[in-house]
Amino acid sequence: MTRRASWPWTVAALAVLAAGTLALRHGHARRPVVPIGASFALDDAAIPDDAVLVEELEKAVDLRRRENFDRMLDARDPGELLEHATLTEPALDRRRLGAHALFIIGDELFGYLFRPENGWGNGPRDRGAVGFTPTLHRVQRGFAGGPDAFGCFSCHSKGGPDGAGTQTQNAFMRGDGERTGSADQRNPPSLLGLGPIELLAREMSAQLQAEAAAAGDRAKAEGTRVEQALTAKGVAFGRIAANPDGTLDYNAVQGVDWDLTVRPFGWKGHQATLRDIAEESLHLHQGLLTNRIQLAVRDGALDAGPYGKGPWYDVDQDGVSMEIDAGMVTTLVGYLAQLEAPTMRPPRDPGLLDAWAAGRLRFEEIGCARCHVPTLELDDPKLDARLPGTPPFVIDVAKDGDGPKIEPEYGRANTPYLVHLFSDLKRHDMGPALASPRAQGRIPAQVFLTRPLWGLAETAPYLHDGRAPTVHDAIVLHGGEATKARDAYLALGESDRAGIRVFLTSLSREPKLFVP
């Protein structure tokens, strides 16, 4: 206990030391140079070996050089950049390019600022007029969206590439186009580790659906009503009841839609795949429509309402009919699926390290880990980035693209991969204080998906609308199903609370060289 309590004194001692040195300040003679930032100094332990460093540096410079070259080409010959940032469907069909090429190309697409001539934006306007400039809608207009951004990276760069959004980058969704208070605010989440998350959700959905099907079969076979607990990867999703006629009763299902599809994307968990959330984001934030949407509108499979009043080949009436083809979405999805997984970076200060270790245990002890499940196990790390029905383009999320990657448990053969995401990928009622202004589709206003906490340190501010500047504020604002855990946190002494905060702040991402 004494050691656990020692860290605050380290901080205090530093402050006293600094203050002490200042007490001498009224002397006439200048004192020898003492670095005024001594308490902010650090040693070199965190730096990679020279060989690794040089290799990393070359890689970062190459990436920058490629971008610089492409944007120069684009200046000389507009359109080059987008062309270089996209893989076409035929190119994907030929399958000459590997996952690595897709990663490089997708990275460029992610950073591209779309322009009206690419189909950015919507609505009839005279784009040929002298002085025409795009119009941003910071507050979105109903289901039509903004556009409020030109590029993906405009809201996903905090803490590094493909990171979270800052508070200013909140999206104001389904609003009146003007008043921030009319909208449902969303803080852009970090995009790291999404590949493993999609695959986890798929496996969980398959498990839940298999359990439901088995219950149905059993009820039919036995001619009785069968109650079956639904559990996927150790996470309980309530119960399902099967009637003798094979029909299923979903009323006791919890935290997942009645189709038993786990939807891990979006703050409320409304999308199941990267492809779907990417397509939706392109529409809402950039006014870019995929060909799939246009064709679905043509075939009557989709209501044109949110997209515009134009003919199916230019629903959003911006004069551009080919905005986003399937290859472009695949490029984005293939890129996102290859992004690194966040990592844990414990403190180096010995006092803080003690607090961290204690905090890690406390986190589980007081019930945070009941929803923020530290680890889920993934069986198959293969993700097809393409539309079903086309030849697959498979990304191995445990291998392809940037490291660090998810890894199997050490020392066991044929073990599943461990995904340290700190989420159960299940929806929970978070209480009235955190509620959205209104329900989102079928998902009630108070209900949110357990936010994965990996990478947390780099993603302040917190909560779905970014209202919490620090981890502490975020914990305190938990309500509903999380009330007990919150109260348990508040009941702790300050040093125990601090331990939890230090532990959470160690959930970070690997430091990496980057030449912006």
């Binding site: 020898p32 902010f40 000389r76 322009r115 990276f153 921030t180 180096r348 200060d349």
Partner: protein, 507 residues
Amino acid sequence: MTSRPAALLALCLSIAACGKEAPTWRADCATVVRPPPVSPEAAREAYRMAARRHELRLREAAAPGAFLREMHAALDPDRVAAGDACLGELADLGQLLFEHEYNFADGLGGGDAATAPAGPFRRVHEGLFGGPETISCPSCHWVGGPNGAGAETDIAFLEGDGKGTASGDARNAPALVALGVVQALAAEMTRDLQKQRADLVRDAARAGADRETHLVTKGVDFGVLRASPKGALDASGLRGVDPDLVVKPFGWKGTLATFTEFAAEALQVHTGIQSDVLLASASPEVLGAGKDPADPDGDGIRGELGRGPFAAMTAHLALLEMPAVEPLIQDRQLPPAADALAAPTTTSFAYDFQRGRRDFHAAGCAGCHVPMLVLESPMLAVDGMPPIDLAQNMRQPGLRWDPAVHGYPVWLFSDLKRHDMGPANAARHVQRGVALRDYLTPRLWGVADSAPYLHDGRAPSLDYAIAGHDGEGAAARDAFQALPFEEKNALRVYLMSLRRVPRVIVP
């Protein structure tokens, strides 16, 4: 050179201690040798910085407010003012402060923000008090590298009603490059203009008749000033500068003469952090009307940012590097970025660059976006510390003496003058007396790395930035749009050659 005694007198007065020795920086500081921005040593430094940032963040998680408390403890404003500190170290601490994420213990927000159920943030500013809409400086200064520009998603809505975006003035955060150099240039121009005014008043008095003069400094024409024999001035002929003849190069509308004023105000309106510097100068509309003069925003935190840490921020901002003007010449064959991808071709953009430069002048862009101004002296006067020799201390690329121009050429692409940008760009609020349509010529240096463009960030590419010009810029816009496409292409290449020097970072 009749002005020399006057200038000396002014200098003495400004130091306000003529008898005493003017403060200078201590001479025994270790020289800060900063490695080339893309080098293994810079990479190591970046790793060190990232590790330190992470450790500080963990410390802050353990004890909220610890970082600022330590900053205050480590930085004594009196010592800094006396020069008893090392500028390089001060700037490094300033960078840490720049990157710090403020929390309630620090004084984030105002009033009961810390306990407001919906959180402390206000995306659209309410009057001059502001938001806050974020928790740190890099939140809106990150595009194109450290201390960079803002994205379209970061646009601030100034002086609004706190509710609707249309009530405020949309402002796109500019990249923070070479602020010290800009301030020094503007200060020289101000001095020059004010000297011309003094000369005019004296001439009119001597002649016993009305006199007028064309105010020109560093080749930029600021219109006509008239004086009566009794010294009454007629400023109605002035162009692009306030009647006080102070060139104000900061803010999209050119409203402030120093970046320190700007930083103090930005900290308040965007994060609700109240610096002592701001408390001493700003009005209750900006600060809040709380009863406690040390805590006018009423959040219960007094002395949120003292003069010591603020001096560190000042040093950091003063020493930021200059962008470069550099055509891309790819003279060696690079390998493809991945298997089966085409390798970049070897090519030179030097020809397009030259052609584009010619077009830039021919189309009239250079009339306002004056490519180069000459800085005479590298000494920058800032509050709270001895003058800074920018040539010696700023980050690279920095000032270089050029004997051909008898000074330091600064390729900033601006005349530091305000212009009427037409109804298409009119603001909603008169800001510090600047007319709705008037904006300062934005500096185009580093333009390649600061998209999106224009004061409200509505232009995703250079073409739209040019299309957005109106008023005094309409003729150049029309000239660009009338160019044959290959000339437009060349002009774009030229502009894309105005870039920030790549810098290795660990985000």
